[in-house]
Amino acid sequence: MDKPAASKVINMERIREIVMECGGHKWALIPVIQKIQNEFGYIPPEAIHVIAIGLKIFPSQVQGVISFYAQFYTKPRGRQVITVCRGTACHVRGGESLLEMLENGLGIKEGETTADMEYSLETVACIGVCALAPNVVIGKEVYGKMDTQKIEQLLKKGEA
C-alpha cells in the first residue's frame, strides 16, 4: 500500500498501551478505537492486529466494527476536515455544487485527503441545522448559507 507522503511512522507501542489501558476485554473495543482515533486522528490499519490480539478477538471483527461506524477512519485525515452536508435541505439548495467546487478547488474527491495533509473532504447526511442550508462544516465550526463565493473566499484565505 502506498502511504500518504506526510504520514509518520506509527507509534505501535502507544497503541499497545492504549489497548492495555482499556483493560484488554473484548467489550472495550469501541473505547479503544475511539481513543486511538483521538490520538492518531485515524485508526492505522496496522493497529487492527494489535487491537485484536489485545482484546482476544479476531482482526476481521475489529475491522467489522470500525467499518460499521461512520465516525471511524482508517486513513489519516487532513489538518482541516471539510464536511459538506448532503441532506435533503442542503441538497436542494445547492449542496452538491459546493461539493463539486471543493473537489475541484482542493484537487481531491470526497473521502480523500490532500497530499500535503492539509484538507480532508467528507460528506454527511444532515447535521440538523437545515434552516441554514446549505451547510458546510469545517473542523467543528458550522458555516451556514454557504454559496460558491463564500467557499472561494474561505479557500483563498486558507482558513478552511
Binding site: 490499519p45 487492527i48 492486529h49 485484536a52 490480539i53 482476544k56 478477538i57 479476531f58 482482526p59 476481521s60 471483527q61 475489529v62 475491522q63 467489522g64 467499518s67 460499521f68
Partner: protein, 905 residues
C-alpha cells in the same frame, strides 16, 4: 418451569419453556421456511438465532405482531399463526426484496437445487420480481482451489461469519462496512488465501446461496445420492456425507446430523476425497516377475502367497513371519488381520501403523491402570473449565479437537494453558503459554506439580484416594524454582501461574499429542501428566485425559488387538484365560508376545524375519530412516503389500493386492475419543480391488483356516460378544434408527468410554533421564517435526487429491529471525538440511517466534520426506520412535525461485 399450552394454527399444543416457536412448529410437523437459521450455530443457552433474513416470520394473534419464529421463545398462551394471509404476503415481499438484489444466474449457479433461497422462492411460487432490481457487485477474486466467493449472491444471513467465529473459531470473516455495500469479508478485504481461512469448508456447506461455492468442483450438477460415512484421515472421526453421481463421489459435505462435529469438517475432510477416483488406484493383483510387476488374477496371487507363507513357516517357523496391520483400516479388518496373524500364521508378530505415533493403548499412561485412550468424550472436553494442552497443535493435527478447544475458550470461557515451544494457532487463545526448551516437558510438568503441592492446591483427601502421594511429593524436592527455570527456560512465576490456573479453575482436561509421545522420555512425560490429573482430579470430579491420535482408526486398530502383546480389548496375550476366550472361537493362539513394527523391520534386516504381510501402511515412506527401512524390506524373502496405490513399500514387494477404499466398503472406525463411527459403501471399488476384510478372509481360507464371516456385520457381532469395550456393537446397522438399535442392547456412536478402573490410582515417580537436545558442533540446529493441515501421514492419499496437492506442495522449513540473519537466509531461499542419516532441500520461511537454534518442518509433504532425516531410536517402553526432533545442519543453497535439487516421492 412447567409445560404450558399455546395455540399453533388453531390447535392447542404443549410447549416447554426455552423453546423457540420454530422448534415447536418443527416438532409439531408444521413447516416454516427458514434461511438464516442453523441449529448448530445456536450454542446451549445462547441466542438461538440472529434472525437476519426474516423469512420465518409468523403472526402472534393476540398482539398482532409479526415475529421471527427462529429467534422468539414460546410463552404461555401464545396464539401463533404460521400461514395467515398477512404472514404470507409479508414473507413474499421479504423474499422478493432479496431477489431484487440477486443476480439472475440461477441456471448456471453451482449451488443449483441446494440453494435455500431458490427453494424458498420456488415454494412460495415467486417467479418474477416486481421491484426495481439493484444488483450487488462482487469484486473479490479468490485464487485458492477450494472456495470461490461470489458475494453478489450474498443475502447477508451471516451464517458463514458465525460458522467461522462460533464453530471453527478461525475468525477469517466478519461483516465489512454497512448498509447496501455490507458483506462478509476477511481482515483487509483480501482473498481468502491471504486470510486466516483454513478452507475447512464449513461456511461453504452452510451458505444458503451460491455466494460461497466449492472451487474446481468435480461435478457441477446436483448429486444423485448422499451416503453417510466417516472421514478417512485423522483420528477425530468426523462424519461426512458423500455425494455420489453415476458411481463417482463428486462432493463431500459435513454430516449435519452429527451432534459432535456439528456441521464442521477440515480441509482434508472437505476437499481430500478425490484420491478415491485417482487414476493411480491399483485395480488388479500384481505379482513381481524378475524386476517388474505383472497383472495377475486373485487366484494366482493367493496361490503364490499361500505357497510362500507356508514354505517360510515350515522352514523357519511361524515367528519368522510378521503382519503389519493398519490404523487406516476398519475395526473389523484389524480384528480379522490379528486373527490371521495369530491363528493362520501362528505368530503374535502383529502391529499397526500407530506405533509410529505412540500406540494409543500404550501412550495412555500404563496399561495396568486401565487407560487405553481418552478417558472421556470430545463433548466433555468442550465443557471443561481449564484445558491443558501439551505437545500438540490440534488446530493442525486434529482440527476437530482444535475447534473444540477454541470453542471452549471463546464461547464457554474456559482457560487454556498451553505448553509448546513453538507458536501455534492456539497461542492466541491461551491464558498462559509456557515455552519450555524442546523436550523438557517432563521437568516442566514436575515443576507444575510441585508448585501445586507447595501452594496446597491439591485435593485434600489425596492421601486416602491415591497411592504413593507422599513419596511423590518427596521426589519433587529437587524441582526448585531455580532448577526448573534453568532447565526449561520458563520463568518460574509463569509456571506458578499455570499451576494455579490448572489447579483452581474447576473441571480440567488434559490434551496431549505427539510432541509428548515422540520424544525421549515420552512415556515418563505421559506419567507426569497422569500425576497432574491425580493431584486435583477428585476436586474437579475426574480430570479427563485425551491422547490425540494421528490416524482415523489408530484407536480401533489397537482396541482390536492389532498389537503384539494384546488380544482384542487389551487382554494380555500371555494370559491363559484371555487366550481361552478367543481360542474357543478361533483355535490355538501362541502365548509369547510378538514383535513391534520397528522390531519387525530390524528383524527383517537381521534376517530373523523372512516374510511380511503389510496392509494399508507405507513404512518405506512414513517411517524414520527410510533408507534403512527400504533395505530391510528388500531383504525379506517374501513381502505382500495390500494397498490402494503403488506406494514405495508396495514397489518393494513380491505380491501387491489391490484394496478398496473407505468409500467402497462397510465397517466401523473408532475415533480417538472412542466414538465408533460407521462406514457405508458409496461406490464400487475400481477394477478387481476388494475390501481388506474380504481379502483377509479369502486368504485365510486358502491357507486352510476357514473364517465363517460373510460380512463385516458378522465380524462385528463377534467383536460385540468377545471384546468387553465393544459390548453390543454387533447389533444394528447404520441405517437403523438409534432407538431400535438401543432396544436390542446395541449402540451407535458415541460409544467406547474408557473409565478409570475401580482400583486406587497411584502416582508415578518419574524424572528426566536423557537429554533431548542432541545438537552439537556439527549439527547445531534442532529440527522439530509436526503435522501439516493440508497433507496427511505419508501423503499417499492427500497428494492424489488434486486440490490439496495444488495448494501446498512445496516443502518449507520455518527458521527463526536471528538464525536466519546469521545464516544470511531470507524468505523463500532454498536450504539444504542435513542430519546424520540423510539430507533434504526445502524453502525457508522466516518466523518471528521460533526460539534460536530450532527449526520446524511438517511431515506429510509428498515431495519432502522429512522422515529421511530421522533415525530409528526407540522409546524403550512403548517402542515408539523418537521422531519429534533431530539435530541437523543447515546451508543456504539458492535464493528465491532458484530451484535447488528437486526431490520427488
Amino acid at each position: 418451569m412447567q409445560e404450558f399450552t399455546v395455540t399453533l394454527n388453531g390447535r392447542e399444543v404443549a410447549a416447554e419453556p426455552g423453546m423457540t416457536i420454530l422448534e415447536l412448529a418443527r416438532r409439531e410437523g408444521v413447516h416454516i421456511p427458514t434461511i438464516c437459521h442453523e441449529p448448530h450455530l445456536a450454542p446451549a443457552g445462547g441466542c438461538p438465532s440472529i434472525s437476519s433474513c426474516r423469512v420465518c416470520i409468523v403472526e402472534e394473534e393476540r398482539s398482532g405482531n409479526l415475529i421471527t419464529s427462529c429467534g422468539a421463545f414460546v410463552t404461555p398462551g401464545m396464539v401463533i399463526n404460521t400461514a395467515s394471509q398477512r404472514v404470507l404476503e409479508r414473507r413474499r415481499t421479504i423474499v422478493e426484496l432479496m431477489l431484487a438484489s440477486h443476480p439472475d444466474s440461477c441456471m448456471v449457479c453451482l449451488k443449483g437445487n441446494r440453494c435455500q433461497l431458490r427453494q424458498v422462492a420456488a415454494d412460495m411460487g415467486i417467479g418474477l420480481v416486481r421491484f426495481q432490481r439493484i444488483p450487488l457487485m462482487s469484486t473479490i477474486t479468490d485464487a485458492n482451489p477450494f472456495i470461490k466467493r461470489n458475494l453478489s449472491k450474498c443475502i447477508l444471513c451471516a451464517k458463514c461469519i458465525r460458522a467461522c467465529q462460533e464453530l471453527v473459531i478461525e475468525g477469517a470473516v466478519d461483516y465489512y462496512r454497512r448498509g447496501f455495500v455490507a458483506r462478509p469479508a476477511t481482515a483487509g478485504d483480501t482473498p481468502l488465501e491471504e486470510s486466516e481461512c483454513t478452507f475447512c469448508g464449513t461456511c461453504v456447506a452452510m451458505c444458503p446461496t451460491g455466494a460461497l461455492m466449492e472451487a474446481e468442483p468435480l461435478y457441477r450438477g446436483t448429486a444423485g445420492t448422499s451416503v453417510p460415512t466417516t472421514c478417512p484421515f485423522c483420528g477425530c472421526g468426523c462424519t461426512v456425507r458423500l455425494k455420489v453421481k453415476e458411481g463417482r463421489v463428486v462432493r463431500v459435505i459435513p454430516n449435519n446430523d452429527d451432534p459432535v462435529t456439528r456441521g464442521t469438517l477440515c480441509v482434508k475432510g472437505s476437499y481430500g476425497f478425490d484420491f478415491i477416483q485417482s487414476r493411480d488406484r491399483l485395480t488388479t493383483p500384481l505379482i513381481k516377475v524378475d524386476d517388474h510387476f505383472e497383472a495377475a488374477s486373485w487366484e494366482e496371487a493367493f496361490n503364490v502367497i499361500t505357497a510362500e507363507f507356508k514354505r517360510i513357516k515350515s522352514r523357519y517357523g511361524s515367528n519368522s513371519l510378521a503382519v503389519f496391520g493398519s490404523s487406516k483400516c476398519t475395526n473389523e479388518e484389524n480384528y480379522l488381520l490379528q486373527r490371521f496373524a495369530r491363528c493362520v500364521l501362528g505368530t503374535n508378530n502383529i502391529d499397526n501403523g500407530s506405533r509410529l505415533y505412540g500406540t494409543p493403548g500404550l501412550t495412555s499412561c500404563d496399561p495396568a491402570s486401565g487407560f487405553f485412550g481418552a478417558t472421556n468424550s470430545l463433548t466433555a472436553m468442550e465443557k471443561a473449565d481449564v484445558i491443558l494442552v501439551v505437545g500438540a497443535d490440534p488446530t493442525v493435527s486434529a482440527p476437530l479437537v482444535g475447534y473444540t478447544i477454541k470453542r471452549a475458550v471463546r464461547c464457554m470461557d474456559a482457560k487454556l494453558v498451553l505448553i509448546d515451544p513453538r507458536e501455534t494457532r492456539l497461542s492466541m487463545f491461551a491464558e498462559t503459554w509456557l515455552r519450555p526448551k524442546v523436550g523438557t516437558d517432563l521437568i516442566l510438568l514436575n515443576g507444575m506439580a510441585k508448585a501445586i503441592i507447595d501452594e496446597g492446591l491439591h485435593d485434600a483427601e489425596i492421601s486416602e484416594e491415591t497411592i504413593d502421594f507422599k513419596a511423590f511429593a518427596k521426589s519433587l524436592s529437587a524441582y526448585t524454582a531455580a532448577f526448573v527455570e534453568k532447565a526449561t527456560g520458563v520463568p518460574y512465576t509463569e509456571i506458578v501461574k499455570a499451576a494455579r490456573e490448572y489447579a483452581t479453575s474447576g473441571k480440567a482436561a488434559i490434551v496431549y499429542g505427539h510432541g509428548i509421545t515422540q520424544h525421549v522420555n515420552g512415556t515418563d512425560a505421559i506419567k507426569a501428566l497422569t500425576n497432574l490429573a491425580l493431584l486435583t482430579g477428585s476436586r474437579s470430579k475426574g480430570t479427563c485425559i485425551y491422547p490425540l491420535q494421528k490416524e482415523n482408526n489408530a484407536q480401533g486398530a489397537c482396541d482390536m488387538g492389532a498389537l503384539p502383546d494384546f488380544l482384542p480389548g487389551y487382554q494380555q496375550v500371555s494370559d491363559l484365560k484371555s487366550r481361552r476366550t478367543f481360542e474357543d472361537y478361533w483355535g490355538i493362539i501362541p502365548a509369547a508376545a510378538g514383535l513391534t513394527a520397528f522390531e519387525m523391520i530390524k528383524g527383517a534386516k537381521a534376517g530373523t524375519i523372512k516374510g511380511m504381510y503389510i496392509v494399508g501402511e507405507n513404512p518405506a515412506a512414513s517411517f524414520p530412516n527410510s533408507k534403512f527401512v527400504s533395505e530391510a524390506l528388500s531383504s525379506l524373502n517374501f513381502l505382500v503389500v495390500q494397498d490402494l496405490f503403488m506406494t514405495r513399500t508396495a514397489k518393494l514387494s513380491n505380491v501387491v493386492l489391490p484394496a478398496a477404499s473407505f468409500a467402497e466398503k462397510e465397517g466401523t472406525f473408532t475415533s480417538f475419543d472412542g466414538r465408533v463411527n460407521w462406514l457405508t459403501k458409496a461406490v464400487q471399488p475400481p477394477g478387481q480391488s476388494i475390501p481388506d476384510w474380504d481379502i483377509v478372509i479369502k486368504l485365510a481360507a486358502r491357507m486352510g483356516h476357514a473364517m465363517f464371516y460373510s460380512s463385516p456385520r458378522e465380524v462385528r457381532e463377534e467383536i460385540g460378544k468377545l471384546v468387553p469395550l465393544y459390548k453390543g456393537i454387533g447389533y444394528g446397522s447404520p441405517e437403523e434408527p438409534l432407538d431400535q438399535v438401543r432396544a436390542k442392547g446395541g449402540f451407535r456412536s458415541p460409544l467406547v468410554y474408557r473409565k478409570r478402573p475401580d482400583r486406587i490410582p497411584s502416582f508415578y515417580l518419574v524424572h528426566m533421564t536423557a537429554t533431548p537436545d542432541r545438537t552439537n558442533g556439527e549439527y547445531p540446529f534442532l529440527l522439530l517435526t509436526g503435522s501439516n493441515l493440508y497433507h496427511f501421514a505419508g501423503g499417499t492419499r492427500t497428494s492424489r487429491a488434486p486440490r490439496l496437492r495444488k495448494y501446498s506442495l512445496d516443502a518449507f522449513v520455518d527458521i527463526g529471525e536471528a538464525d536466519a540473519e546469521k545464516l544470511e537466509v531470507s524468505e523463500g531461499d532454498r536450504l539444504r538440511i542435513a542430519s546424520s542419516t540423510s539430507e533434504i532441500v526445502a524453502t525457508a520461511r522466516i518466523s518471528d517466534t521460533l526460539p534460536e537454534r530450532v527449526v520446524f518442518m511438517p511431515f506429510a509433504l509428498a515431495c519432502n520426506p522429512v522422515s529421511q532425516l530421522l533415525d530409528i531410536i526407540l522409546d524403550l517402553e512403548r517402542k515408539t520412535p523418537i521422531v519429534k526432533c533431530v539435530s541437523v545442519k543447515i546451508e543456504r543453497i539458492g535464493s528465491h525461485g532458484q530451484a535447488g535439487s528437486k526431490q520427488s516421492n
